[in-house]
């Protein structure tokens, strides 16, 4: 089983992005996803920059995948999509059907977590369209995933979102701009002030969600650190760790150790996150819940 670094979901300054990947080049991750998935107004790095970065990471021994934007609205966004797909160099993660349509029949692609593959027929269809790897929807339980994996012939790699704030929704509206009374189209890039998004609490002060521009994430950090053995037994090939701005090297180390057979304490990563851990989806429960992994001998 391999570790991957998912695309950075926040809007980080260019120097921070480059520094992050300079470090990541030395981490025990196999694959690194690059690119802007959330908002086309975010371009501290443009496609050529991502390609340059990708080449450096390849030289460092990493496999690089370019991720496409999840919500594609305008012609300029489609133009960017086509340029990414036509890059001729890196594997592509498709996060929208528009990308799938454009990728179909080309060399294999990764079917991203936003494509809504819930059933075996749909999974088989994506395999026929050329997917070589797929990322199940984040709300899928272990039981459902086991059924799907039993149904497909095993040639498709499966990558599970194993760490990070859950990307729960995409909107027409930018909630960060809204917070600052700014129009979406004149947002002043205020989301850059919040590397890991803005915390949204209930009126009782309970952390609940995270505002990340047009994306809504969970406040709690989803962690399958305690489920590594089960994931491996199921045949999952890749675990995705979604980058956060702090402590990411430590997160990777914990997962790498778990892959080596070290049994982490159930809340080993709790100190590394802002608003607690969750893993409910994996257990067929509300995603915000936390179930302590079963004690095993």
């Amino acid at each position: 089983m391999h570790l991957t670094l998912g695309p950075i979901l926040g809007y980080w300054p260019r120097d921070q992005v480059l520094a992050f990947y300079r470090d990541a080049a030395n981490w025990p991750v196999d694959t690194i996803y690059l690119g802007e998935v959330v908002c086309s107004r975010r371009h501290e790095l443009r496609l050529d920059d991502w390609r340059d970065l990708g080449r450096e990471l390849v030289l460092a021994g990493k496999t690089v995948v370019l991720s496409t934007q999840a919500l594609l609205e305008s012609e300029s966004e489609l133009r960017t999509l086509r340029r990414i797909v036509d890059n001729g160099e890196f594997l592509i993660e498709a996060n929208d059907l528009g990308a799938v349509g454009y990728l179909q029949g080309r060399t294999g692609f990764v079917a991203g977590p936003h494509l809504n593959i819930y059933g075996q027929e749909t999974l088989a269809l994506f395999a026929e369209l050329g997917a070589r790897r797929w990322v199940p929807p984040i709300e899928m339980s272990a039981g459902q995933l086991a059924q799907l994996m039993a149904a497909h012939d095993g040639e498709l790699e499966t990558e599970v979102f194993a760490w990070g704030r859950l990307p729960l929704a995409f909107s027409a509206r930018c909630f960060t701009a809204r917070h600052f009374n700014l129009k979406k189209d004149e947002c002043a890039f205020r989301c850059q002030e919040f590397a890991d998004g803005q915390l949204l609490r209930t009126r009782e002060g309970e952390p609940f969600l995270t505002l990340n521009g047009i994306q809504t994430q969970s406040a709690a950090t989803h962690s399958l650190l305690g489920e590594v053995d089960a994931l491996r037994a199921m045949g999952v090939t890749h675990l995705r760790l979604s980058p956060q701005s702090q402590h990411m090297a430590e997160v990777v180390r914990l997962f790498a150790n778990a892959l080596q057979g070290e049994r982490p304490a159930s809340d080993a990563a709790a100190d590394l996150v802002e608003a607690g851990l969750c893993n409910g989806y994996w257990h067929g429960q509300p995603g915000m819940r936390w179930k302590t992994p079963d004690a095993r001998s």
């Binding site: 919500l71 594609l72 609205e73 305008s74 966004e77 489609l78 999509l81 929208d96 059907l97 528009g98 990308a99 349509g101 936003h114 809504n116 819930y118 059933g119 075996q120 027929e121 749909t122 269809l125 929807p137 984040i138 709300e139 039981g143 459902q144 995933l145 059924q147 149904a151 859950l166 729960l168 929704a169 995409f170 027409a172 509206r173 909630f175 701009a177 809204r178 917070h179 009374n181 129009k183 979406k184 189209d185 803005q198 915390l199 949204l200 609490r201 209930t202 009126r203 002060g205 309970e206 609940f208 969600l209 505002l211 809504t216 989806y281 067929g284 429960q285 509300p286 995603g287 915000m288």
Partner: protein
């Protein structure tokens, strides 16, 4: 584009047989309905159709020259595909005019098993660009796609110019601020979402609790909002609650408000929208009747008058009474947002 010879189709919600008849009687060109189970995205207790009511409803509509569309627009869950496929078989057996589907595997099943049954891509299919729509056209021969409520008018126009299928847009009703089919907020709190169970903020997870600080609305224990004694309370949908961000309490995602496109109907007609959809299968027959009557009149007037069209005060008044929080918005169509 050919000049239009008739106005866009008015597609109205039928959560029950009385609502279906109300829509047909008040001028809907088409109604959409679903079964009483997780195969449709409005899987609420007490709603939707069984065999007898569906057959009666389809006969009622089609004998009056109206079309019936059947929504099978949730995602077949692992190991349960048969239930969704059976729903498609049922739709074909009943002789509906089209099925509205979101899942690609199910789309392929419908395409292969019932090639003569027209297929629409549901708003739950999250197609926000023409590449996505044309992909579904080429793969599955879809006749129409319903757009999520996230595009501006000019984006809708550009999409229509490049899409190889008819385009249906939402015209009135509760505003879903997230891209449909890509919102998991409900399952994050309750374990059930539109994609998995056909529900958003399921009623069984809702609790109303009077407290000294006001009436509290909770969803799966999460405080969604708290209302003062004289304050109208909405259904506790997660995206329309009041929350704290940086110590400011406000509707951080969206106010309780309804989409209302009356003001831009001439533009929607001009750019070639094929159908205008009314949201609200969970609403009463009286609501459906009022909204259908108003939209029928407004669409016909906009088609006849084009740029001379103006929104009648009586229509606005009528729809305002039926709107969430008595507030209305053009939503993404004109991006007026703060």
């Amino acid at each position: 584009m050919q000049p239009r010879t008739r106005p866009p189709e008015l597609v109205c919600p039928a959560g029950s047989l009385p609502a279906l008849k109300a829509a047909v009687d008040h001028g809907a060109d088409a109604v959409y309905l679903g079964l009483k189970d997780a195969t449709n995205a409005r899987n609420f207790a007490g709603l939707n159709f069984d065999v007898a009511s569906a057959r009666e409803g389809i006969r009622y509509a089609q004998s009056r020259g109206r079309r019936v569309l059947m929504a099978i627009n949730t995602y077949p869950q692992a190991g349960q595909t048969k239930q969704w496929q059976t729903a498609v078989d049922t739709a074909a057996d009943w002789g509906v005019d089209a099925v509205i589907l979101a899942d690609l595997g199910l789309m392929r099943y419908a395409c292969r098993t019932h090639p003569g049954l027209a297929r629409h891509l549901s708003v739950q299919g999250s197609a926000t660009n023409y590449e996505a729509i044309n992909f579904c056209r080429h793969q599955f021969g879809i006749a129409r796609a319903v757009l999520p409520r996230v595009l501006s008018l000019s984006q809708v126009e550009h999409l229509i110019q490049h899409a190889e299928a008819e385009i249906e847009v939402f015209g009135f009703g509760s505003l879903c601020v997230m891209v449909e089919g890509r919102c998991l907020l409900s399952s994050y709190a309750t374990g059930e979402s539109p994609n998995t169970a056909g529900v958003c903020s399921p009623a069984k997870s809702v609790r109303w609790e009077p407290t000294p600080e006001g009436m509290e609305a909770r969803l799966a224990g999460v405080l969604i909002d708290r209302y003062a004694a004289d304050e109208p309370a909405g259904y506790p949908t997660l995206c329309k609650g009041r929350f704290e961000v940086a110590e400011e309490t406000y509707y951080a995602l969206e106010e309780p408000t309804s989409l209302n496109v009356l003001a831009v109907l001439p533009q929607l007609i001009e750019i070639g929208v094929a159908a205008v959809k009314v949201e609200g299968r969970q609403r009463s027959p009286a609501y459906v009747a009022e909204v259908t009557r108003t939209l029928r009149a407004a669409i016909d007037a906009a088609f006849a008058e084009r740029q001379r069209f103006h929104v009648k005060a009586s229509w606005s008044l009528q729809l305002a009474k039926l709107s969430e929080g008595q507030q209305q918005t053009l939503g993404a169509y004109n991006r007026p947002w703060k």
